[in-house]
Amino acid sequence: MDAILSVMAQNLVSPIILSFALGLLAAVARSSLSVPEAAAKALSIYLLFAIGFKGGASVAAHGLDWTLGFALIAGLALSLVIPVIAFALLRGLTRLSAVDAAAVAGHYGSISIVTFVSATAILTSRAIGHEGYMVAVAAAMEAPAIVAALWLAARSGTGVKMDWELWREVLLNGSIVLLVGAFVIGAITGERGLAEIESFIVSPFKGVLCLFLLDMGLVAGRGLKQARGVLSGGAVVFAVLMPLVGAALALPVGMVLGLSAGGVALFMTLAASASYIAVPAAMRVALPEANPSIYLTLSLGVTFPFNLALGIPLYVTVAERLSGG
């Protein structure tokens, strides 16, 4: 317990968390501080490219085994199951309409790549290794939850159009393509490729992450101010509870798969995190009736900072204790 608390306390004073907090405070205080849209997109391209490439290079170095296949399947399964649990929880804890609840549920089945990236940063700084292919698992878990959400909405009577065009958009959305593409490039070029661009994608990585989190704090803060009134207490409870539920589901699965301690922690983080880039865009197309303030605020305004500040250190410590030892 003490160990967990000390890891958490230490985590709370990292530049990463504090940068997010700075953005959040600045937005709430209505400061004019803002990151241009193009710069935020550029930062996210950098992060996706770097994390994908490093994952691929690590696979090239350590080799692949069957676990990757099983981990992908387990990830897919989790991201289909979690929305169902989330939906039930939401209907119990809040008065959200079925459509709103389905939309929110879809976000929690999917993943947040920055939460994943922050977890890898913490693992790196604590020198805990992890499977490079977890990046591929992250990519695999982005989209399936959308299907689950649309199924939940359809069951509740909302006409949903999951046409081929939407499938293409979801499966080939920019972040999946870049993440998987960079992973493949890393896997092909391996350690030699990594050496060539190391001083671009490895050394400055954490600093870039700080700026991106500053921006996410600004966006989250603006969203929270905007959404006051829309959010009930029950919804907020959900947004804190659900990541723990997701992580608790992922923990035994990760251990059964035989992942390393770091791998289990990342798997828990993926299950615990909620999408705020790809799924919202898909929901605007397929479930326009769902209120975006609700899902964006819960995902980006509550769950993301919860995972960043408390969740990840918790998952890492638990995973270390139980699996890696």
Partner: protein, 103 residues
């Protein structure tokens, strides 16, 4: 200079629907359109801004389409089929254009 009557249609629509809208417009055989970026706005669903955003959700684009008056209804129907269930504003203004042969 000689000008010709036309209609200027301005469609402000959620960014994730941009491709669907332009595909629908193109399918309706409209001669051309121009897409302007939008920085922010406000409506019944609250205030929003593109600042620092990565997702296309929570953003709008403005599609401007200058068209012969007799083609207006085709365009509006194509646009409406996409905007229908979604957030968006469609406005039509009378205008005059140079070089009518281009429309």
């Amino acid at each position: 200079m000689q000008t010709h009557k036309a209609k200027r249609v301005e469609i402000i629509i959620e960014a994730p629907l941009e491709r669907r809208l332009t595909d629908a417009i193109t399918a309706a055989d409209v001669s051309g359109f121009t897409i302007l970026p939008v920085r922010g706005g406000s409506g019944r669903s609250g205030r929003w801004s593109r600042e620092g955003q990565v997702s296309t959700a929570g953003g709008m684009v403005a599609v401007v389409c200058i068209i012969r008056p007799e083609r207006l209804d085709t365009l509006l129907e194509a646009a409406f089929s996409v905007v229908e269930r979604h957030i968006g504003v469609v406005s039509v203004t009378d205008c005059e254009v140079l070089r009518a042969e281009r429309f």
